[in-house]
């Protein structure tokens, strides 16, 4: 990975996804002056829902609009993990030998419609005939999982709220973050119910965003930058819709992708200096702690309570603010996480949220309520 760009997340009134993606690309090219548009051989783009702008033709439209003319430009979709899938498709494109240099990105323009309409669109991630049709929203599926976790392991609403509080704190000095506002456990507990036990402040915000990274073959990286980041593992696994499963407190897709990623990278948990984990809802971060292996199954609530996952803790999680506070413009979230890792390892984030001495990071991106999971492990080459 030789460069990265990210449009600020938020309600970006008057700007289309294409225009936001151009912002992200402008930053990517300005971060890497040796990289020219004609070096780019392919574009992969994560986008979950075309309904927000009534715009298909995502890949060719984005590439040619920016002057990345006539290259293959394909959209990939695994709902909320589409950005992670885009990154992985780029890795595979490079590894196949087909391309020397690719850009992987993600977009989502969500504020074109009101919140209820947005929830209906997002709920397309759930199974149509048996989940959506019988009253499930995506929030509801995660709420069902949360209640099982609470009953089985004693996880509390206060512990879930602590995830939101931490991630809001982390976002305070992230210029790309949407919700740069400190909140308290009380604020979360008092926020209105969306799908009990999940409340408004347990949920990531609906917003607009775009992000991208540039990848090249490892041996070519030093001709573009002195500070390349090596992708040591890129793993993905899928799973059935929630209604077909028997285990609601652990996501098999995450566990499978994590296992593959550690095997591929020859890294162990102890090598990971920080992680960006998928926290569309606070319960997701708690379950991800356990499925990634930062604590044993059922102890995710205790882990957040211990402070270990704060910046400065033993395993900082979501120094960007996460999907929860940086924002969750669905298709962009995965490459947005990669942007955070790029800037953290390049030491270009605000000192207050810099993970000190970090060299190796893990990214986890999840589709729907665990129907897909992508795990990347990255390491700064020069550190």
């Amino acid at each position: 990975m030789i460069s990265a760009g990210c449009a600020a997340y938020g309600k970006r009134e008057g700007l289309s996804a294409r225009e936001l993606f151009s912002e992200a690309l402008d930053e990517l090219f300005s971060n890497c002056p040796k990289l020219g548009r004609s070096d780019v051989r392919a574009l992969y783009i994560g986008q979950a829902f075309e309904s927000f702008e009534h715009q298909a033709n995502t890949g060719p439209g984005l590439a040619n609009g920016y002057g990345l003319a006539n290259i293959p430009a394909v959209r990939v979709d695994s709902v909320s993990s589409s950005g992670g899938t885009s990154l992985r498709q780029g890795v595979l494109g490079i590894l196949s030998g087909a391309y020397d240099l690719v850009i992987c990105g993600g977009i989502e323009k969500m504020t074109t419609v009101d919140t209820l309409e947005a929830i209906e669109i997002i709920s397309m991630a759930a199974d149509r005939p048996f989940e959506q049709w019988n009253g499930a929203t995506l929030t509801a599926l995660n709420a069902l999982a949360a209640r099982v976790h609470m009953r089985r392991f004693g996880t509390t609403e206060e512990q879930m709220a602590l995830v939101a509080v931490k991630n809001h704190d982390n976002a305070l000095e992230n210029p790309k973050a949407y919700l740069r506002k400190r909140i308290t456990v009380q604020d979360v507990l008092a926020s209105r119910a969306i799908s009990s036990p999940l409340k408004l402040l347990d949920s990531s915000p609906i917003c607009d965003g775009a992000s991208c990274v540039a990848l090249t073959r490892p041996e070519l990286a030093s001709s573009y930058t002195d500070t390349p980041i090596d992708i040591l593992a890129s793993a993905e696994a899928s799973d059935s819709d929630l209604v077909f499963r028997d285990d609601f407190v652990s996501f098999k897709s995450t566990r499978a992708a994590v296992e593959q990623a550690f095997e591929m990278s020859a890294m162990t948990l102890g090598d990971i200096d920080f992680a960006e984990l998928h926290d569309a809802f606070t319960i997701n971060e708690i379950i991800a702690y356990e499925d990634v292996g930062f604590c044993k199954k059922g102890d995710g609530g205790k882990l957040i309570e211990s402070g270990a996952t704060k910046i400065g803790g033993s395993i900082p999680v979501n120094p960007s603010g996460g999907l929860k506070a940086k924002g969750h413009p669905v298709g962009s979230s995965g490459t947005g996480q990669a942007y955070e890792v790029f800037t953290q390892l390049n030491r270009s984030v605000a000192p207050s949220r810099q993970v000190k001495d970090s060299k190796v990071a893990l990214i986890h991106s999840m589709g729907g309520a665990g129907v897909d999971a992508i795990v990347h492990i990255l390491k700064a080459r020069w550190l």
């Binding site: 209820l116 929830i119 209906e120 709920s123 005939p129 048996f130 989940e131 959506q132 049709w133 019988n134 009253g135 499930a136 929203t137 929030t139 509801a140 709420a143 069902l144 999982a145 209640r147 099982v148 009953r151 209105r192 119910a193 969306i194 799908s195 009990s196 036990p197 999940l198 059935s240 929630l242 209604v243 077909f244 499963r245 028997d246 609601f248």
Partner: protein, 135 residues
């Protein structure tokens, strides 16, 4: 010989007779909702069977977001129910919220809820509801 149970046939039977249909593989695993292969072992040799329609609440949530697609008054209580024979279903429990709890027994019921779905097969498709029963 393997038997198929389409989504449409599953709902049509529920609407017509109230019977909950499922699929069973040679290992005896029950797959509900219906799909091509067994949700436990992946076998694609399946036969259709009628189930009791009885299950227990594994989890529930009060949903507050209004939806044109699912025009029920909010909040409604959505339950995840594990069926007696195996498999799970999602559906609404139209009962006092205070009566709903994990572990309670329910019976499946199919009921039409009119919506403005543009998908042709959905215009006559019933939804799944659960009634609390004595366990």
């Amino acid at each position: 010989m393997t038997e198929k149970l389409t989504v449409d046939a599953f709902y049509a039977e529920g609407k017509k007779t109230g019977t909950l249909l499922g699929l069973e593989c040679p290992e005896g695993h029950v797959t509900v909702p219906p799909r091509h292969s067994c949700r436990v072992c992946g076998s694609s040799t399946m036969k259709v069977l009628a189930l009791s329609g009885i299950g227990t609440i594994a989890s529930f949530t009060q949903v507050y977001s209004k939806s044109k697609e699912f025009p029920l008054e909010t909040p409604y209580t959505l339950a995840l129910v594990t069926l007696k024979e195996g498999g799970n279903l999602l559906g609404v429990v139209k009962d006092d919220q205070a009566n709903v709890a994990v572990g309670k027994a329910v019976r499946v019921r199919f009921e039409i809820v009119n919506s403005n779905s543009k998908i042709s097969v959905e215009t006559t498709r019933p939804r799944i509801f659960f009634d609390l029963v004595d366990s």
